[in-house]
């Protein structure tokens, strides 16, 4: 069983459960979250046995094996250590947050977000595939955005969340590029491949760009200088979030990746200088700024930045022992910083402020919490007997040994010691300013000890600080050795976690740091003045803001320059750029325009048809302001296009084009009723000339391209379809077999689009109010005459014949020209003729007025045909067919694809009628009242009899009046009579 996959998914399922549980009680979601976390822990722990035995557990779920894509998970020492941190500290946070959140905060939302984050974090540390790792990496960015902006009403929370997302998201993009390069270099995206090919990767020419891209991801996530500025702004999050994300998890993802890829990437000049340099800069900046932050959480945030810098520096140093120290400090920092954040949250909770200038002397009010916080702060400072001391001394020792190996090496221990001095100073400030230093100043509340259980998570973590600090060998050494082995992909070096190593340079540096820290804190006044003087002058946030504003301004400027709200302008730009790009392809002139194919002879009929088409098309353009005329001419052009299909051996296309042409012209006629009958002459001569030049150029380009293609010989895959059509598709009409069988999946998509277009149009028509015109283009009033008797009688007589024809076309479609599309259109045309000739009232009395079920049935049948082939263990939409003998008819082929074609037929009929009939119905609802007191909207009450008889025009679009009469007989889902709006 894939337990690791299950462990990663569990928090996601739990998130939904927690959100749901909060409906039933405020604290339910906390219980759910805790249970989910424990369950995930229970899934992972059994696997840990194998890890302790020295194995690496790898579980795969194949997804697309042909391209090497699988969901793959990995549990080794490093992953286990992080999984324990994520789940263990997560559990403590869940307990803490249950007391921290106030009545007004939504518990369900908080725990759902927290679990989402936990799942993403587990995904990062347990991923074997780096692309999969990146997906979880981005998920942590998203989940942290939700968590930081948890108090959505606060502007600083929203801004802080956005900044964190922008910075870490941008880093994630760089990381994706880096991973792609890395995978290419290593020959695989699985960690086991990447970690084993370190030498290949380091020797690769694109090693440096790849390293920089990966490190951009790491540095943004782990808040390394100069990307550190998002972390202090993320402190607007609720404190449990800060304690979780900004001590143990989110920011640790970056250093986790450093550790994870350590064997593959480390050991080069670039690695040690970039990683080490950035880490050192972060270490120093963070430690320095932390001292001057008056906000309690601000101090902790900068201290976190500094400690992350320390870990980064250790990985940058790159020796095996430094890597061990790095992993060790990850553990230690997670424990003491999480407890400090929780203590800060308690103080904030009790005092109502986090300003250290106001919070003083809390020892008197909450001595127990104060003790816990002081222990954790001592660990942060690196005082002996606390865990921070051990890893910090390893760090000092590594700095010294590294320093002896390089020029200006003496600088390294110096810088590190200075950072240590500031770390002691800010830790001291945290203790002294908050718990001593006189009396509280003007606190909103009187502080006292928090609820018993709120202190438990802090107690657990502080106990760990002490246990690890005093008995490192018994507590942390096994898992540390395991994790270090996983980081190094080799047995870890011998390391000694003793408190007393004798008088070593590292010991000396610790003493200097402690003493120096005391001195700096004692003489802090002038330093504070200096910091206040510089405050806001050097600010990475200002750079970020300027960059962001610049980006917005650029995007806005480009958009405004291109889009002035004019479609014509955009289209001119579009056509012109298409022309320029097309012309650029022809410019080199190396290939001749005309190919070598033998051409067909021109015959007189074709020439005449072509001349007619060209003349008609040009006439349509010239007369386009007389819209009705232009529309009729366009219909004629469409008919010639159908003839072209007939001429060049495409009978199916000709039938389709012919029937589509009919419905298109009817549709546009119906629509034209609501639009001005003539267009204004508003374009200037210059503009018309410009458009004409553009149009001629575009036409010339299209003609040249068509000519170039048509005169060239080619290889086609048509042979396959022609060969297989009869034996495998069971049909002789290859076009139809392609549509319903070979490419049936595409056709299913296409009829879905058609159905959606029909439904979309129906939805649009639902809320539309259009007044119809009173007079036609030539000033004659619309005529409300009764239906022409001859036309009505003829169409009624022709209907059965037309329907029979369409059924015939549908049935024979598999072997002869025809099929669902054409038959559907023929049926639609036949039925629309009834509407035109007999009116809606008459037709609706005899036809179903609701076309939605027809579309639904059509899609359903097409889908069911496809699914049925699953029942026979064939791929979706596999066709089957058989030969039958029907008496009288003879041998008859019946293919399952014909059922599919029936679905196509129904969708086409339904969608076409839906569009046309509902547009026609609008006419009924739109006629202006012809009574003496016309209402603006009009209504269905207009009666033909009220028209002056003498003004009847010579021609009338016969169908308009029919829809008028129908306005009292709308289909069930239509509007109420007389209330068009």
């Amino acid at each position: 069983m894939n337990t690791l996959l299950l462990a990663v998914i569990t928090p996601y399922l739990g998130a939904a459960l927690a959100a749901w549980a909060s409906r039933h009680g405020r604290l339910h979601s906390a219980w759910v979250a805790a249970a989910v976390t424990l369950f995930a822990l229970a899934l992972i722990l059994p696997e840990a046995v194998a890890v302790f035995a020295g194995e690496t557990v790898i579980q795969r779920l194949p997804w697309m094996p042909s391209v090497g894509l699988a969901l793959s998970f990995r549990l080794d020492g490093l992953a286990l250590l992080f999984a324990l941190l994520i789940l263990g500290i997560g559990l403590l946070i869940i307990l803490y947050a249950r007391y921290y959140l106030s009545e007004r905060d939504s518990m369900g939302r908080f725990y759902a977000y927290l679990l989402l984050f936990m799942g993403a974090m587990l995904g990062i540390v347990l991923s074997e595939n780096v692309i999969q790792l990146l997906v979880f990496w981005e998920l942590t960015s998203l989940a942290s955005f939700l968590l930081i902006s948890y108090w959505q009403h606060r502007e600083d929370a929203r801004n802080g969340a956005r900044m964190a997302l922008a910075v870490t998201g941008a880093g994630g993009l760089a990381l994706l590029a880096g991973f792609l390069l890395l995978g290419e270099m290593a020959g695989g995206y699985e960690l086991s491949v990447i970690l084993a090919s370190g030498d290949t990767i380091r020797a690769h020419p694109s090693y440096v760009p790849m390293l920089i891209l990966v490190l951009l991801g790491v540095f943004t996530k782990s808040a390394q200088f100069p990307f550190h500025f998002w972390l202090p702004h993320a402190m607007a999050a609720p404190t449990p979030v800060s304690a979780y994300l900004h001590s143990a998890t989110m920011v640790k993802a970056g250093v986790f990746l450093l550790a994870r890829l350590f064997p593959a990437l480390s050991g080069t000049w670039e690695w040690s200088h970039i990683v080490g340099g950035v880490g050192l800069a972060t270490l120093l900046t963070g430690a320095y700024i932390a001292l001057f932050k008056h906000d309690l959480k601000g101090l902790l945030a900068y201290s976190t930045i500094s400690h992350l810098g320390l870990i980064t520096t250790l990985f940058g140093i790159g020796t095996p022992l430094a890597a061990v120290a790095g992993v060790f400090h990850i553990i230690n920092h997670a424990t003491f910083k999480a407890s400090l954040f929780m203590a800060a949250g308690i103080i904030d909770h009790e005092c109502g402020t986090r300003d250290m200038r106001r919070i003083n002397g809390l020892w008197k009010y909450m001595p127990y919490t104060a003790t816990l916080a002081m222990v954790a702060a001592a660990a942060m400072a690196g005082v002996p007997l606390f865990n921070g001391f051990l890893s910090k001394e390893m760090f000092f020792a590594e700095a010294v040994s590294m320093g002896t190996q390089m020029r200006f090496g003496w600088l390294l221990p110096l810088v590190v010691t200075v950072a240590g001095v500031f770390a002691v100073a800010y830790s001291l400030r945290f203790i002294h300013d908050v718990f001593f230093n006189g009396e509280p100043v003007d606190l909103p509340r009187t502080p006292h000890e928090p609820p018993r259980w709120m202190k438990v998570p802090v107690e657990v973590l502080v106990a760990l600080c002490l246990l690890v600090g005093i008995l490192p060998g018994l507590t942390v050494e096994p898992i540390l050795a395991l994790a270090a082995a996983a980081v190094l992909q080799a047995p870890p070096p011998a390391f000694d976690l003793a408190i007393w190593h004798g008088l070593s340079p590292a010991m000396l540096m610790s003493v200097v740091a402690l003493a120096g820290g005391l001195l700096v804190y004692a003489g802090r006044r002038p330093l504070f003045d200096l910091a206040a003087h510089w405050e806001g002058r050097v600010d990475a946030r200002a750079v970020y803001d300027r960059l962001l504003q610049g980006l917005f301004a650029l995007a806005g400027g480009v958009t405004r320059a291109l889009d002035t709200g004019s479609l014509q302008r955009l289209l001119v730009l579009f056509f012109a750029s298409a022309l320029v790009l097309g012309a650029a392809g022809l410019v080199d002139g190396a290939t001749p325009l005309t190919g070598s194919r033998t051409l067909l002879e021109v015959d007189g009929v074709s020439l005449t048809a072509a001349i007619g088409l060209v003349a008609a098309a040009i006439a349509a353009v010239l007369l386009h302001r007389q819209r009705l005329t232009a529309l009729i001419i366009m219909g004629a052009v469409g008919l010639v296009v159908a003839l072209i299909f007939v001429k060049f051996s495409a009978p199916d296309l000709a039938l389709t084009q012919l029937s589509v042409e009919v419905v298109t012209v009817v549709l546009l006629l119906l629509a034209l009723y609501f639009l001005p009958q003539t267009g204004p002459a508003e374009s200037s001569g210059v503009r018309r000339t410009r458009d004409a030049v553009l149009a001629v150029a575009a036409g010339g380009g299209a003609a040249a391209l068509a000519w170039a293609v048509l005169t060239r010989p080619y290889e086609s895959i048509a042979g396959y379809f022609l060969d297989k059509s009869l034996p495998e598709g069971g049909g002789g009409n290859v076009v139809n077999v392609i549509l319903v069988d070979f490419r049936g999946y595409d056709t299913l998509g296409e009829i879905t689009v058609l159905a959606l277009a029909g439904l979309g149009i129906y939805a649009m028509l639902e809320r539309i109010h259009l007044p119809g015109p009173e007079r036609d283009a030539e000033g004659r009033p619309w005529n409300w005459d009764t239906h022409p008797v001859i036309m009505a009688s003829l169409t009624r007589l022709l209907l059965p014949l037309a329907l029979l024809t369409s059924v015939f076309i549908l049935l024979r479609g598999h072997n002869l020209p025809g099929g669902g599309f054409i038959a559907g259109l023929v049926t639609a045309v036949a039925l629309i003729m009834q509407y035109l000739a007999n009116g809606v009232t008459w037709t609706h009395a005899r036809l179903p007025a609701n076309f939605h079920p027809i579309i639904g049935w059509g899609l359903g049948i097409a889908l069911a045909t496809g699914l049925a082939s699953w029942g026979f263990e064939h791929p979706f939409l596999t066709s089957t067919f058989g030969h039958m003998h029907w008496p009288l008819v003879g041998d008859f082929e019946l293919a399952s694809a014909m059922a599919f074609d029936l679905g196509v037929y129904l969708v086409v009929v339904g969608a076409t009628l839906l569009i046309l009939v509902y547009l026609g119905l609008m006419h009924g609802a739109s006629h202006p009242t012809l009574s003496p007191d016309p209402s603006p909207r009009g209504g269905g009450e207009a009666r033909p009899s009220s028209l002056p008889q003498g003004e009847r025009a010579g021609w009338e679009p016969g169908f308009y009046e029919d829809f008028t009469n129908s306005s009292t007989n709308l289909p069930p889902r239509g509007r109420e009579p007389g209330r068009a709006d």
Partner: protein, 109 residues
């Protein structure tokens, strides 16, 4: 014959482009219809021209035109109709909401 078809495609494209550049909705819809004629013919032409050779399997057939572009164009014609219908409805909706039929929704300039 090929030159004739290329000419037809060119003229239809030119007419379509000119009409889509007009300022009122109705000619733009006509222009789009012209453009879809041109595009459909162009796609169809990718299978080259053949006379009297419909892709219908039969013993007497001397050869077959390429069925694949035909199948593509067949659905393109139907989808083109759905698109035309959608665009003209948008034009009607714009007319109803904005009171004019200018493509940018502006009243007469």
């Amino acid at each position: 014959m090929e030159a004739l078809l290329a000419l037809v495609i060119g003229v239809l494209t030119a007419c379509g482009v000119y009409l889509t550049l007009r300022g009122r909705t109705f000619p733009v819809v006509l222009g789009l219809t012209f453009l879809s004629y041109a595009v459909n013919l162009f796609l169809f032409a990718m299978g080259r021209l053949a006379i009297g050779r419909p892709p219908i399997i039969g013993e007497a057939a001397a050869g077959y035109a390429d069925p694949l572009p035909q199948a593509l164009v067949l659905t393109a014609i139907v989808i083109g109709f759905a698109m035309t219908a959608f665009v003209i409805m948008l034009a009607l909706k714009a007319r109803a909401e904005l009171g004019n039929d200018h493509v940018d929704g502006r009243a007469d300039r």
